[in-house]
């Protein structure tokens, strides 16, 4: 089993399916990349959700404020012109659906996994760091001429196979 390909395919399928079903949008295929270490500074909206079990990690969606507003508008069929609680909630739910679908796919191969409640950050020039030194699988999409990114890092929990806590991550502003 090529786990990296399995995760990548699942992320792509889940993202396209969620965009199509919940937003009525067809995303063009994304570019797959691997990212190690801490990513560079972020601007915009970043949403995180933890995965726990025999494998643990974090899933993330990063988008611009304009895209976040559009996600909210398309999902709720309301006008959203500024990033507010509804917009952040819509991005959190989009993340929950994408990473939740990936989690369900992976459970067939990795065993039962748990999903945390999503956390969303909106700001400028902030950095994020996931505990541990794991590799992120990154799918870079171009949506309305702006980058839209879905990321996942997942690693076996060798020291404690019964761990129930997802990886922690820190946000530096």
């Amino acid at each position: 089993m090529n786990l990296e390909k399995l995760i990548t395919d699942s992320m792509c399928t889940a993202t396209l399916n969620v965009f199509s079903t919940m937003l009525g949008q067809e995303l063009p295929p994304g570019e797959v990349a691997l990212e190690t270490g801490s990513p560079g500074p972020n601007d915009g909206v970043a949403s995180f959700i933890g995965i726990a079990g025999t494998w643990a990690g974090t899933g993330s969606v990063n988008c611009s404020p304009n895209q976040a507003c559009r996600i909210c508008s398309q999902m709720l069929m309301v006008e959203a012109s500024a990033v507010d609680a509804d917009v952040l909630d819509a991005v959190a739910e989009l993340t929950n659906m994408i990473i939740g679908s990936v989690k369900t796919d992976l459970e067939q191969h990795l065993g039962p996994l748990g999903l945390s409640i999503p956390t969303v950050v909106y700001g400028r020039n902030f950095r994020t760091k996931s505990a541990g030194q794991h590799e992120w699988i990154v799918i870079n999409y171009l949506w309305d001429q702006e980058p839209f990114t879905v990321k996942l890092c997942l690693a076996p929990q060798e020291r404690n196979p019964h761990a129930t806590q997802a990886h922690s991550y820190a946000i530096e502003v």
């Binding site: 399916n17 969620v18 079903t21 919940m22 909210c72 999902m75 709720l76 069929m77 309301v78 609680a85 509804d86 909630d89 819509a90 959190a92 739910e93 929950n96 659906m97 939740g100 679908s101 989690k103 369900t104 459970e107 039962p112 996994l113 999903l115 945390s116 409640i117």
Partner: protein, 129 residues
């Protein structure tokens, strides 16, 4: 007779989407109440008895499976159908929900047609105007 519904999800976005979808189903829907977690749901249903509960699973304080178990363990609410609407599509969660007495299971992301199809066997159709 219109059916009152309780929508339970920690995402306000999903609660709004489900409210809209419920109104579009063509089923006889009355009042739609909301709760952000299982604890709040139990409080709301005490004040506003409903004919159907739609609930997420992953929620803070009390999750959807705990809420389902609590409702099915209550003499007052055990006959109220509970439909799970959740990203949790794993076999374990589905079989646990079925074992606890869930009337249905819809995986997110969902379409309006999937919700309608699932509820059609549970709720009565709306009377023609």
């Amino acid at each position: 007779m219109d059916s009152d519904v309780l929508v339970v999800d920690d995402s306000a976005a999903i609660r709004k989407i489900l409210q809209r979808v419920l109104r579009q189903t063509g089923l006889a829907i009355g009042a739609i109440h909301e709760a952000g977690d299982g604890v709040e749901a139990l409080s709301v249903i005490e004040q506003h008895p409903v004919n159907l509960v739609l609930t997420d699973i992953n929620m803070p304080k009390m999750d959807g499976l705990q809420l389902l178990a609590s409702l099915k363990g209550s003499a007052q609410w055990q006959k109220v159908p509970v439909v799970m609407i959740t990203t949790e599509g794993g076999e374990l969660k589905v079989s646990e929900a079925v074992r606890l007495g869930a009337a249905g299971y819809v995986r997110k992301p969902f379409t309006a047609d999937q919700i309608k199809e699932k509820l059609a066997g549970i709720l009565a159709p709306a009377l023609p105007l």
